[in-house]
Amino acid sequence: MSTSKYGEYGGQYVPEALMPAIEELTDAYERYVLDNEDGFIDEFRRRMREFGGRPTPLQYADQLSERYGFDVYLKREDLLHGGAHKLNNALGQVLLAKYMGKDRIIAETGAGQHGTATAMAAAHLDMPCEIYMGETDVARQRPNVFRMRLNGADVTPVTAGRGTLKEAISETMRDWAGSVEETHYVIGSVVGPHPFPAMVRDFQALISEEARDQIRDRIGRVPDSVVACAGGGSNTMGAFQHFRDDEVDLYAVEAGGSSLTLDEEEGVAPNSASLSTGTDGVLHGARTKVLQDSDGQICESHSVSAGLDYAGVGPELAHLVEEGRVRAVTVDDTATLEAFHRLSREEGIIPALESAHALAFLDRAASGDADLGDEVVVNLSGRGDKDIETVLEETDRRDLSVAPDMSLFEELGGGSL
């Protein structure tokens, strides 16, 4: 039996109509994922290998290691099909839906990363798929919208409210509440009601399962620390899972945005650091750390990285931080941009802005803020092709010595990207 609570956190705070689906899913999770019934896990692993491109390499970063004086190893989830760790979860859940006899997939997406991963997995497994996306996001994330459409998914713009992630989640929930019998809702991170946090963690745990073997092959022991960014926390939990019983320091790097101080008046958090600055609450089906005002209204969160821009965090991760097993730290937008440019320029890898948060923390550590030890594994959760436009704009506003000069290309025809 799987447990639905992590200390104070977790649980199943969902509408009554969904409880049977949640119970059915819990049952399926225990049978297929935990007990490998019908060879589910074997097929999952095989498809992640052949379709997804696993195992991803663990790469020694020559330049960063030299710069920081400790050995930096990059777990290259950016090389996964679709360009991020998201596929581990999306493929796992779509495959599970298939084993459960569901014949339709729905998912919400904000920036579009989870939506594209789900659309890819659904196309691969020949399942009809509908993605809900706020209409504001549809307009500003067009390449991802086209990708989903090319993969045969329906993209349904949600017109309510501000037309972003929050409304998209509500609309997906509404769909699910009315279609639970034939539909599976693929949640995008280790959030939501049980069994989602546990299940998504288990799918993402391929990351640390491989990384642990790889680093031991390389240096003959486990690393001193593992560093991963945390939005909802799925790449984080995936990168930590198999190191939890080792003597390894685990760092969850949150988006410090432009400031760590909440604007109570406006109900706005200029960051997405729910582990570091949030308070206990119930969001999207689970008790966890949440960015909220003193009345319990959920705040708008902010980050230069769309994928970290979320007011909650996975309940198990919140618990691990509470327990002291995981350290929650933050880096701000500017440090993140610097780390983005540094990796691009010095290692020839353009990281996702999400992942650049993890990299930025190396810099903070090297300047004395933390002792990461001699051997450090960083989870490079995704590639940054999707972020280039944002990075150019945000770099333009700042004075970053590490950034390349782009002025030449502004003169030469063509406006934006």
Binding site: V14, P15, D175, G178, V282, Q292, Q297
Partner: protein, 258 residues
Amino acid sequence: MSLASAFEGGPAFVPYLVAGDPDYSASLSYVEALDDGGADAIELGLPFYFEFVEELDVDASLVCMTYYNLVSRYGESTGPRPFVERAAEVGIEGFVVPDLPVEEAGPLRDACDEFGLDLAFIVAPTTTDDRLQLIRERVSGYVYVQARLGTTGAREDISAQTGHSLERLDGWEIPKAVGFGIGSGDQAERVVQAGADGVIVGSALVEIVGEGIETDAPTTEVSSRLAGKVRELKAGALAGGSSTNRNEHGRTDPTLER
């Protein structure tokens, strides 16, 4: 005092509106219009301000419908107790918390008992028998019978669905209010004919408020439209009650049972 008493005068009509939608003072008028129209109880979507309830001048019983995060975050200490205490002070008689399944409801149930408030639960078409049992043990005030799963699809078979749902609650000594997608007096009538002790109406009223925003209609006009709709629905419910042998569907004396 018990919410169940709102169901005593025959089939009850229970409208729903959100406090503060579209703004504080307009919504005060709107909620009062529901009362004028003959609401027996009002489910109030209540973000967080209790002063709204203090200002409100209505006869109907007030039920607070809100997310569990708001309930559990209120005040200095953690847990739902401070919220329930304050709700009791302003005269709220009970709660419906749609994202709080019965399994997680222990702390709120305890606080409600302490302050003498009711805690209604929703029963959905998908609710399993095991869970029905749990709900029966913990519900008070009324049970909210969700008429169907999706809001889309054919609405004609609403009475059949409702009949089926109510059969599963046979013998429960608590009023059964049916809601979800009911929008006309006619539907209200058929739901009551199918055995409901009350009719809950939400989106049809929220839509009227929404139209008011879109057409920039004066508050008084929206209020009178709301009151009209409420009268239609109430009349439907009453008509359903008189045209049917209600005991056939297992209706019992609606007294508080916990």
